[in-house]
Amino acid sequence: MKARACSLALLLMALGAGFAVAGDDGEKKYKRPKQLSVPLSAPKVWSAECGSCHIAYPPGLLPPAAWKRQMDTLNKHYGSNATLDAADEQAIRDFLAATSTVNRLPLEPSPKAGEPPRISTTAWFIRKHDEVRADVWRRKSVGSAANCVACHAGAEKGDFDDDRVQIPK
């Protein structure tokens, strides 16, 4: 029994060590948010309010701390006033806080001072889109990096699968 427990412990240690190595390595390796699907229970107030001026960005795209900053600065939302009434604001805060915990990446402030974090300036976003040429971003059919649905038709459901990307002409 003791031997068994011992070998189990050794096995776990080996696995643990394995994870640790992968983890250490992984710190330098490329990381991106992976759990992006929007829960079916997402409140209507979230999709309606966050989806009226732009697509309702899946909460998993940013970590909780970034969403908090978004919600704290709605009066200056990338040049627009996006303020909500208190009840709607709280409901959206709660949903974002709970749903974005799947994103364990560090908060990356926007390079532009005075504005909340941007999805499109995170290291992983830039890396994932490094093959998209500047003139493609500027296409009228694309608009800008804020317009996920131009190329990712399922973006609002959290589907960003590479295989389903279609870049419009």
Partner: protein, 134 residues
């Protein structure tokens, strides 16, 4: 014989509860009267002028038409690529039927374009114009 009457009564009760652009305008009128004893009515002409007036307050020249179309019977587009349904109730039936929604967008959009809140007078002027756009 009774049933059509009941149905009619229900319909009327429903209609009384649902806000209409005219009812919403009435609310603004009451508010304007309360705020200003010299209130002399709304002006559709001023409301139209407000819609088309260019403002530099935000640092770039813009007006309501920048995002809403210059023709309020047509759809517009937000700076972040979302379609905006037409503003004129003649083209989009649910416009100006929900005070909470109307107040939210006046609050945000007057700040976006003019960098200030719109007055009750301005809101009423605008609503009195937009409901006449056919």
């Amino acid at each position: 014989m009774k049933y059509p009457l009941i149905a009619l009564a229900c319909l009327l009760a429903g209609a009384a509860q649902a806000e209409t652009p005219a009812g919403l305008l009435k609310s603004y009128e009451q508010q304007a009267r309360q705020e200003n004893p010299k209130f002399a009515g709304f002006s559709a002409g001023r409301g139209k002028a407000l819609y088309y007036s260019q403002s530099q307050a935000s640092g770039k020249s813009m007006s309501c038409t920048t995002c809403h179309s210059a023709d309020p019977k047509k759809a517009g587009k937000t700076p972040a690529f979302r379609k905006i349904e037409p503003l004129a109730p003649s083209a989009q039936a649910d416009r100006f039927t929900d005070m909470k929604k109307v107040e939210k967008w006046f609050r945000r959009n007057c700040d976006d374009v003019f960098k200030r809140e719109c007055t009750t007078q301005e809101k009423g002027d605008f609503v009195s114009w937009i409901i006449t756009v056919k």
